[in-house]
Symmetry: none
């Protein structure tokens, strides 16, 4: 029987969310959880895949978010080098005594590695990323705060309403954020929760650096963080001309080439 549109949307949204939390969902698991036949479960998955929100595998589906943010350590791609360059550049903005927000994501994690390498002391660091927290807590005089929230196994981070509330209780001297894309319409990320939270961080931070590598220039994502990117700073492994080509509306002095 045909079923109301909103029911379908809700179920697919729920599947996507489930996938975001768990990382991998077998088809039969979906059948059980949502009381649908394999056929519909598969149909939902193919639909979600065509929306680029997941990747199908034999027997189930993989979170796409996982592919964008694979585990942060032990990676050796040429992308990793770019990210390290970007992270290193971003870390030069960090000064002793700052209250600092570090986003979850591999590029910002590289920045954290550079901060540790530079042995910048006496920071107050707030981060939703567990690996990043564990990394920076080795620095002398550094206090690391993790906002509470739902733990996402895939990304080893916390997120959700409570996280947002917690973040709203801080003010930052500097925030380092990752993103999925930036174009003439603004800044984009992968999930509504994360975009929401980043918007709050931007509001509460004296200065915000968007850390990304050049392949993300001109690209978008499922969820808009902000259209108004003029106050932000962009740290990227590309010169101003390349950034201009992506139609990023940002003052030239806010573009920092790594």
């Amino acid at each position: 029987m045909k079923v109301a549109r909103h029911v379908i949307e809700a179920r697919r949204e729920a599947i996507a969310k489930l996938l975001g939390n768990v990382g991998y969902v077998p088809v039969l698991e979906i059948c059980k959880q949502f009381n649908v036949s394999e056929a519909t479960a598969r149909r939902d998955l193919t639909e979600l895949e065509s929306q680029r929100r997941l990747t199908r595998t034999h027997g189930g589906a993989l979170s796409d978010f996982n592919r964008n943010f694979p585990p942060l350590d032990s990676r050796k791609t040429e992308e990793a080098e770019a990210k390290q360059k970007v992270g290193l550049k971003a870390s030069t903005f960090v000064k002793a005594g700052m209250t600092l927000y570090l986003d979850s994501g591999s590029t910002v994690h590289c920045a954290a590695e550079a901060i540790v390498a530079a042995r910048i002391p006496d920071l107050q660091i707030i981060t939703t990323s567990i690996p990043t927290a564990q990394l920076v807590c080795t620095l002398p005089g550094v206090e690391v705060y993790i906002p509470g929230g739902l733990y996402l196994a895939q990304q080893a981070m916390v997120a959700g309403d409570r996280t947002l509330e917690e973040v709203a209780r801080w003010n930052f001297d500097l925030a380092l954020l990752g993103a999925q894309g930036i174009d003439e319409n603004g800044l984009w990320n992968s999930q509504r929760d994360i975009s929401h939270q980043q918007r709050e961080v931007i509001r509460r931070s004296d200065q915000t650096l968007i850390c990304m590598h050049k392949s993300k220039l001109g690209r978008t994502g499922p969820s808009a963080v902000t259209r108004d990117i003029a106050p932000l700073y962009l740290v990227v492994d590309a010169d101003a001309a390349m950034v201009a080509k992506a139609k990023v509306k940002m003052p030239a002095q806010h573009i920092i080439t790594a």
Copy 2:
């Protein structure tokens, strides 16, 4: 043909690493990458899975994110067996659908391992322990919340005023707590912060199990959690007579021998 042990180890290590980078590897991909038959690829995967280093799926394997924490593992070596027994017993009190508080500490971590082994689904788990969070989040239908707070590198946990505040926003069906000691004056722990927080958890939980091994009977600690231990339950690898010798004022039916 039989092949040298180190070759096998190396290949399996490489598979694990590959998995760490990519997040998901199909079996055939392993066959191609390492020039082995499907049989060996599968054998490697089952071996790695038994080492808890990955999760198998139909057609491949998923990277496992619940990495073991060195600090917790080293603490586990002594009296590990006793703690596992206690943890196993405590886990039998956990039923599907519960809202559950899991304390930070090795004994409760053992209980978490037993919960995972029993594959109890649909829990809502609140824990301040990062390793425990990463362990239990693998269960189906389980949501894991980490209260915000100051990250303590030593214990891989969060603590502090904010953590207490966050905990105070929940109510639990069941709480599993560790402790440093219990005697005629009540329950003891190592730090004021932790005692404070445990007191709050006890207040907010329908049932509280204190999980400890017998060497802690009759011992105290720097900070009192509560003098009124009568409503609590004690899971310990000792019989009622041994508990009585420690002058623990607790109804007999509240003493559970592991």
